[in-house]
Structures are given as structure tokens and as C-alpha cells.
């Protein structure tokens, strides 16, 4: 991530919305804004005008540290040789079969 494309607009903010059902905040997209308050308002106008959210987070895009495609192997290799890491390894008691 050393060569970022220079953005001619205002700083970019990532937008996270919490759905009305009370689930966790989910990434919705991004907006440009000069300040955090403006980012919050833009996020409301762009992503949540029709009651999609009960709470909004905005985070400066630059503040997010993301994994890179090169991390694919070491980060996400499921380790299939270690079966005990998978929940399927365990037998669920009959009482909780619904799950």
C-alpha cells in the first residue's frame, strides 16, 4: 500500500451501519467529507435515508489496517490437517440439534 492514488477530493471515510434489528455494524460503503461531523451527515444522506440504520460509524479510511492478498496463505489457511480446530469435530448433544 505504499503507492496510494492521490485523491483530489476531500478525505475518504468508511461507513458502518447498524441495522434496526440490533445486529453488529456492517460496512456500507464510503463517503468524502472534510470533517467527521460532515462525514456522519453524508453517510446518513447517502446510506441511511430510508431507515436502514439505527446507528452510524464513520472511520477515516486511512485509519484502517487491512490484510493484503499476499496474506491469504498464512492468515486464512484453514489448517485442514488439524481437524480438531473445526467445530464439526464435536458431536452436538441431541438437545441442541436445532443448531
Amino acid at each position: 500500500m505504499s503507492e496510494q492514488v492521490q485523491d483530489s477530493q476531500w478525505p475518504l471515510w468508511e461507513v458502518f451501519l447498524q441495522p434496526p434489528k440490533g445486529e453488529a455494524h456492517e460496512h456500507a460503503g464510503s463517503v468524502h467529507a472534510a470533517t467527521a461531523e460532515q462525514a456522519l451527515q453524508n453517510a446518513r444522506d447517502v446510506y441511511s435515508r430510508r431507515g436502514e440504520a439505527v446507528s452510524i460509524w464513520v472511520v477515516p479510511s486511512g485509519a484502517i489496517t487491512a490484510s493484503t492478498p499476499e496474506d491469504m496463505g498464512p492468515f486464512f489457511d484453514p489448517g485442514n490437517d488439524k481437524a480438531y480446530r473445526h467445530p464439526q469435530f464435536y458431536k452436538a448433544p441431541r438437545g441442541v440439534r436445532v443448531f
Binding site: 463517503v31 472534510a34 470533517t35 460532515q38 451527515q41 444522506d45 447517502v46
Partner: protein, 249 residues
């Protein structure tokens, strides 16, 4: 209740005309996000106008619905204040006007949410929420522009100066206002002036802008005496409805 129709009509006209002015930014906003924000504000205002026109049409009892009232009246029949019909100007004019109107609208609608007319009280309660958001949006922008660069400060101050002389009309009460207030349906707008000035001054000070001192205030809109700008605006706003009367889509 002869005051009811004209009273509801002026509430609706203010919002339709301002809503159309704000909608003129659609596709022309300074950035994409602000373009959407302004379109949202415009839609809120036009939605408020629609609800108020419905009530007005019912109060009049002549079978005119919201479309008839919005699209088939001429400028002399409109009862909006001059303030809302002025051209959208640059972004500073639009955003300063939005602050001025939204503070007025919030004070007015907070009072009307206690109206003895239950339907009007319902529309007012919904409008209060929208006006609060419009204030938050426009106040944030007025401070950003006023306390920004030399250019943005100069433009914001010019907008404040140009618009100020039109704000007096918002608080003029006539017989319709007084009768509506006496019946518990409406409010006397002159009672809102002090609170409006306090709130607007607070924002302008934060924005390092100067509150103008203007002796003469423009008026006439409530009597149908409008600036030339309203006629031109209505020509554009009404042409589709008038060219294809009864069309639906």
C-alpha cells in the same frame, strides 16, 4: 374557519417554493455527497408541502388536491414569503437561506405540533424532525464556510447580508395568522422572532460572520406581491403539469 385555508396555504407555499429552489441543485452540487444531501432536503420540503396542500385543499372544500394547488395557480396566488423565492444563488446563499428557514420552521412547527387541529399537529410533528436535521446540516456548513478561507468567508457574509432584509417578513403577522392563533390552530409568527434571532446569531458568531443591521425589511409575499423571480420559477416548475393536465406517471 375561513382562516384555515389561507393559513395552511402559506405554510405549504413556503415549503414548496423553497423545496423547488433547493432541488435546482440536483446534479449541480459541489460534490456528490452534498448533491444527495441537498436533494434530500428538497424532497423533505416538497413532502411537507404536499401534506399541507392536502389539508389546505380539504379545508377549502372546492375539490382542489395538492397537484391543483401546486401546479395550477399563478404567482399572484402564491402566499410564500419573498425570502424563499429568491434564486438559489451560489452555494453560500443556498446554505445560509436553509439555516435561516430551518430555524424558523423548527420554531414554528414545534408550536404547531400542539395545534388544536390534529392533522396539522401531525404534519408539524414530522416536520420538526426534518427541520432539526436541516439545521444540523446547514449550520455545520455555515460554520465551515464562514470560518473557512477568505473566499468562503466573503461569500458567506455576502449571502447573510443579501438575505437579511428578507427575513423580517417571516415574522409579520396578519389577520389570518392572528385568527389562526386565537383559535389555537396556528401561531402568531411575531412570537418566534426573538428565539430565531438568538439561534441564528449563535451560529453566525461561531462562523465568525457579522449579523447585519438592516432598518428596512422587504415584504409582500403573503399578499401575493412577489419578486419577478417567482414567476420564472413557476414557469419551469409547472410547465409539465400544465402541458399534460391529468397525466400520471
Amino acid at each position: 374557519m375561513s382562516f384555515l385555508f389561507p393559513y395552511l396555504l402559506r405554510l405549504a407555499d413556503d415549503r414548496l417554493v423553497l423545496g423547488h429552489r433547493v432541488s435546482e441543485w440536483c446534479g449541480h452540487g459541489p460534490i456528490l455527497e452534498e448533491d444527495i444531501a441537498l436533494a434530500n432536503v428538497a424532497l423533505d420540503l416538497i413532502g411537507e408541502a404536499t401534506a399541507l396542500y392536502k389539508l389546505a385543499g380539504a379545508a377549502e372544500g372546492q375539490g382542489r388536491n395538492e397537484d391543483a394547488l401546486a401546479y395550477f395557480r399563478d404567482a399572484v396566488d402564491f402566499r410564500n414569503v419573498l425570502f424563499v423565492e429568491l434564486p438559489k444563488g451560489d452555494f453560500a446563499v443556498t446554505i445560509v437561506r436553509q439555516l435561516f428557514f430551518s430555524v424558523y420552521s423548527l420554531l414554528q412547527m414545534e408550536a404547531l405540533s400542539k395545534s388544536t387541529n390534529a392533522e396539522l399537529a401531525g404534519v408539524a410533528a414530522k416536520t420538526v424532525k426534518e427541520a432539526r436535521y436541516h439545521i444540523r446540516h446547514s449550520a455545520q456548513w455555515v460554520v465551515t464556510l464562514g470560518d473557512g478561507t477568505d473566499e468562503s468567508h466573503a461569500r458567506a457574509q455576502r449571502a447573510v447580508n443579501d438575505l437579511w432584509r428578507y427575513t423580517g417578513e417571516l415574522f409579520l403577522a396578519d389577520d389570518v395568522d392572528r385568527e389562526a392563533a386565537a383559535a389555537g390552530v396556528g401561531i402568531d409568527p411575531s412570537t418566534l422572532a426573538d428565539a430565531w434571532r438568538t439561534q441564528v446569531t449563535e451560529v453566525l458568531q461561531r462562523a465568525t460572520l457579522t449579523v447585519p443591521t438592516v432598518a428596512y425589511m422587504q415584504r409582500g409575499g403573503r399578499d401575493g406581491k412577489h419578486t419577478e423571480h417567482l414567476g420564472h420559477m413557476l414557469d419551469e416548475m409547472q410547465i409539465v403539469a400544465r402541458s399534460h393536465p391529468g397525466a400520471s406517471w
